[in-house]
Amino acid sequence: MEVGLDIILNATWETLYMVSVALFFGSIIGIFLGITLVVTRKGHILENKIIFSILNPIVNIFRSIPFIILLVAIIPFTRLIVGTSIGTSAAIVPLVLHIGPYFSRLVENSLLEVDEGIIEAAKAMGATPLQIIRRFLLPEAFASLILSVTTVTISLVGATAMAGAVGGGGLGDVAITYGYQRFDSLTILVTVILLVAFVQVLQSIGNTFERKIRRV
């Protein structure tokens, strides 16, 4: 193996950094967008045709752009936000824009699964729309939301591999630059094993939490 342990460790750290920061901001955007997409739809508690018909296609557009394209397409925007268009931090901006809309769809699905009768009961109690979201929709969808977060985190791990295109670093980057481009199979193997372990751990944590919340 041509790469040393220090490179692998550093790359692991970069991957963790990108995933956690992008997950944090992506979740905020995703939860906010997802809730808005649910409550503004027809017949829901804050029905608003204008907001819904603007947000819905925007989310679709972001969902349909391949990440590698998004990464380079928004370089000017990235520069505006973090002051540079290369490096680990620069990779986080497109990661957030990639994962936020994706997460919003998952949040939307989770919230729509909540029994409509619960909302009716909430309305009958005289709950405000915000109370309905906070006290009824989110708690009832919580277990399902945890699984969504898990899915999103795993998608992020995959997406960070492409961050190498803008010098983002991370395990995927190591696999491509050291492993693929220099024909070093062992490096590829090591990084892939690390990524697989990553995903396994994340999924188990997600499942454990979800089971705990659902009390099974």
Binding site: D115, I118, A124, M125, G126, A127, R135, F136, E140
Partner: protein
């Protein structure tokens, strides 16, 4: 008190309009347990949802304790809704919360103090008989227990009105009775006006004092349970009544009546209230020279009032038979003679007139 004044409700779909309610006029008095019965699609669910404004009337007005909720601001409306409890067929409890948290929810929404919430929730759970389930989750409870939680949740804010949306339709008969008894207790203990919709005649029979029958968005009959049940005016009502009072005539009776050798006459006796407690039948057999044969008997309780339905075969001389029938009429029994071409109504004169006829 809940009043409906000429209330109509239209649902506008893509290409068609559906009339859910047509010119409904209805008054539910304070302290009533008022039942609304109808087949699915009759509009009873819409009627109920107009009371707490989950649906808005298209025209007309609904007054709850004299207040028109549709005229209130959003904030005022939410305050008014807190004074109207509601329970549901499928309970609609939060599965992610304990029984305590479910019941506490309406108070939490009103920012009631924690110590006050604790006190009220415990009291209410005790009232519905679920004190020991305070830390359970809804999915650990039976259907009847879930509905008790639903009732506790509806009562915790001390409402003046309780709306029941098919509250027992998802429960087995035994649990239904226990929930109905609880509702009776709620009504008696807090003088809460209860408006319940159902398609089950048993429910109306068990606890309601007044009833409205709905069909295709209209109230076709309304009155005390006793009046409506014993003297149905429409086919729909009759069909509902039939589901608990089997007053149909068995086929073999007609077959017997049609035969040449048959000597007897068949009468349908309906006893109301106290008269069903009196031994009318045995007295007829003792006092008059007639043979009495009971073909069919059915006694139920409507509210607290017994209601009996008997099919009797009488044989004897014309004179004795008339005297026996007159006697029964004096005991306030409603009578109908069954003839081979269908029933024909036959009222007997009241006591004073009877005295004249028979000297």
């Amino acid at each position: 008190m809940i009043q409906f004044h000429d209330v109509s409700k239209l649902f506008t779909g893509k290409n068609k309009e559906v009339v859910a309610l047509k010119n409904v006029d209805l008054t539910i008095n304070e302290g009533d347990i008022f039942g609304v019965i109808g087949f699915s699609g009759a509009g009873k669910s819409t009627l109920l949802r107009l009371v707490n404004l989950l649906e808005r009337p298209t025209s007309g007005e609904v007054l709850v304790n004299g207040e028109n909720l549709a005229a209130l601001s959003k904030k005022q409306l939410r305050t008014a809704q807190k004074k109207i409890g509601m329970i549901f067929q499928h309970f609609h409890l939060l599965n992610s919360k304990t029984v305590f948290d479910n019941v506490a929810m309406p108070l939490l929404l009103s920012n009631v103090k924690k110590s006050e919430i604790e006190k009220r929730v415990k009291e209410t759970l005790e009232f519905v008989g679920l004190s020991e389930k305070v830390d359970s989750y809804p999915d650990q409870l039976s259907g009847g227990q879930k509905q008790r939680v639903g009732i506790a949740r509806a009562l915790v804010t001390n409402p003046s009105v309780l709306l029941c949306d098919e509250a027992t339709s998802a429960l087995d008969p035994q649990t239904t009775i226990s929930i109905l008894n609880l509702l009776k207790k709620v009504n008696a203990a807090y003088n809460i006006t209860i408006l319940m919709i159902t398609h089950e005649m048993e429910v109306i029979k068990e606890i309601c004092n007044r009833v409205a029958v709905m069909e295709e968005g209209e109230v076709v009959e309304t009155g005390t349970v006793l009046d409506v049940f014993t003297n149905p005016q429409t086919k729909t009502t009759y069909n509902f009544v039939k589901s608990i009072i089997r007053d149909g005539i068995p086929k073999y009776v007609y077959k017997d009546l049609a035969s040449e050798e048959y000597k007897g006459r068949v009468f349908q006796f309906k006893f109301l209230g106290v008269s069903s407690g009196k031994p009318v039948i045995s007295q007829i057999a003792k006092q008059f020279n007639v043979e009495v044969n009971v073909l069919l008997a059915n006694v139920i309780e409507l509210g607290d009032i017994p209601f009996g339905n008997l099919l009797l075969e009488l044989t004897g001389s014309q004179h004795e038979m008339e005297r026996a029938l007159q006697f029964a009429a004096d005991q306030e029994v409603m009578m109908k003679e069954v003839t081979k071409d269908g029933s024909r109504i036959r009222y007997y004169p009241k006591r004073n007139l009877g005295n004249v006829v028979h000297g």
